[in-house]
Amino acid sequence: MEVFYEWARLLYETTGINLPFIYDSYDRARMLDGFFMTIKLSVTCLFFSVIIGVIGAFLQNSPLKWTRRIVNVYIQLFRNTPPLVQLYFFYFAIGTLLPKVTNEYGGQEPLLGGFAWAVISLSCYAGAYNVEIFRSGIEAVPDSTIEAAEALGFSRFNIFKDITLPLAIRVSLPALNNNLVNLVKTTTLAYAIAVPEMLYEANQIWSDNVNVTEMMVFMLLVYFVLVGILVWGMNKWEKALKIPGFGA
């Protein structure tokens, strides 16, 4: 590994292409931290947004009129407003309304930090799309299959859990894949509330080293590769779940 670092330093000295996140240990650490933060953000938001999506899709089929209405209001609000403004709304507007806690140094700090609010905001945003995606997946399950289940005495919850959901997931997978990719890209918004993810760390590095071009190109490449790997992985999963004769 040391050889690789030295090569990067040599590159800087000979060609002027400055990649401090390779040869400098501090910058390297910063970049890696940022990378893992992005991954952490993406995974956490994915987890919660899928849960929100499933619950929302289930509630959308509720016989209660007001349950359905509330879910629809949630979806329309989060899909038709900018995620950045949602983030600011959560972090600044709601964040300052919450009580403050005393941290270990005796100072006051907000109850939920940047990371927490980013997770809440982005999960709600992605969740709104997921509800729609799961809804179309659920609608793709033929009515006749559901009726057969009802005739066998399944409860509404059991039908959803054992029959609708497994089939709906397979139909929704391509759209979910797309949404996941968008989620990873949307984590960069957390930059705006100083969450130390990749873009934020890259910003720190180029402020110190004045090598914006290299950092920008590197960022574009990293996201290109990251998203590429995700898409490849999801394709593999789609193929593994394929039921012959069902779906496209």
């Binding site: 509720s62 629809n72 329309q76 609000l77 403004v85 009802e150 960069t188 071009t213 960022m219």
Partner: protein, 280 residues
């Protein structure tokens, strides 16, 4: 004779009521209602503050013209970026279906590259790497921030339009190509007279959806310092002395602005999808 207790078999239960297809349609006035509720919710906070301070409504109304101006600027940025992006994207999309692999593969690569990049990163990319002025001969043209932001935002639009075009062309049945070929149409003739006219209808809903996403993405320009509605909101809040009770109403107002603009577009897109699905 003793009555035996009747056991109700599942088949005799009344069927679970199928949810009627009619879904709750959100109207614009609902948004107004929600915003009003949000503003009213700030009143309890207000009730505890100093009565000599201006009420939240007054402050909001005072700043509204400026914020609306900023929002109009967002819309201008979105329309321009959409225009540039659509033209470039259409060309790229046609490149992706070219038979010449030296055109097709680079077009695919460019599309994927700009599709996979986060919009904010592309914005930074444009802001930092485009020069602040360009020299053509003896002419010096300054490139203001908002122009660079427009270029930055048109890059992901270009990539997405490219995919929309390619997707629409590929979705047409191959029989159309074969019939045209059998009638001795050249590839260019087939593309322009038969394939593309049929694709326009299919491309419209995702294209409108993209515009909606783009409009919402224009707030990203505030992160890179362009003066638009979000920046102005921040400045207004600062000018009011950083009052914490103003945060909720002001941000709600910005959310409301975008909702009122983007929600009708979303509804119209859904309406168009249904209409075109019927014809096909």
């Amino acid at each position: 004779m003793r009555q035996t207790k009747q056991r109700v078999l599942p088949v005799m239960l009344s069927p679970v009521k199928r949810i009627c297809e009619e879904r709750f349609q959100l109207r614009a006035w609902h948004g107004l209602a929600l915003a009003t509720i949000a503003l009213l919710a700030s009143i309890p906070v207000l009730a505890q503050t100093d009565p000599t301070r201006a009420s939240i409504f007054d402050v909001l109304v005072r700043w509204m013209p400026l914020l609306l101006e900023g929002f109009v600027f967002n819309i201008i940025i979105s329309i321009s970026a959409m225009g540039i992006g659509t033209i470039a994207g259409a060309a790229l999309g046609l490149g992706q279906i070219s038979l010449n692999k030296w055109v097709r593969k680079p077009a695919w690569l460019i599309t994927q590259f700009f599709r996979n990049a986060p919009w904010l990163v592309l914005l930074f990319f444009a802001m930092f790497l485009l020069p602040f002025e360009i020299h053509i001969g003896s002419l010096t043209i300054p490139l203001p921030d908002w122009l660079k932001a427009m270029v930055g935002l048109s890059l992901p639009v270009m990539a997405n339009v490219s995919e929309i075009v390619r997707g629409a062309v590929v979705s047409l049945p191959s029989g159309q190509w074969e019939a045209a070929e059998s009638l001795a149409f050249s590839r260019t003739q087939t593309l322009w007279q038969i394939i593309l006219p049929q694709c326009i209808k299919r491309m419209l809903p995702p294209w409108m959806n993209l515009y909606s996403i783009l409009t919402m993405a224009t707030v990203l320009a505030s992160v890179v310092g362009v003066s638009e509605v979000m920046t102005l909101t921040g400045q207004a809040l600062a000018a009011e002395g950083g009052r914490s009770d103003l945060l909720l109403p002001f941000y709600s107002f910005v959310l409301l602005l975008f909702f009122v603009y983007c929600y009708p577009i979303a509804r119209w897109t859904v309406h168009m999808e249904k209409k075109f699905a019927v014809i096909n």
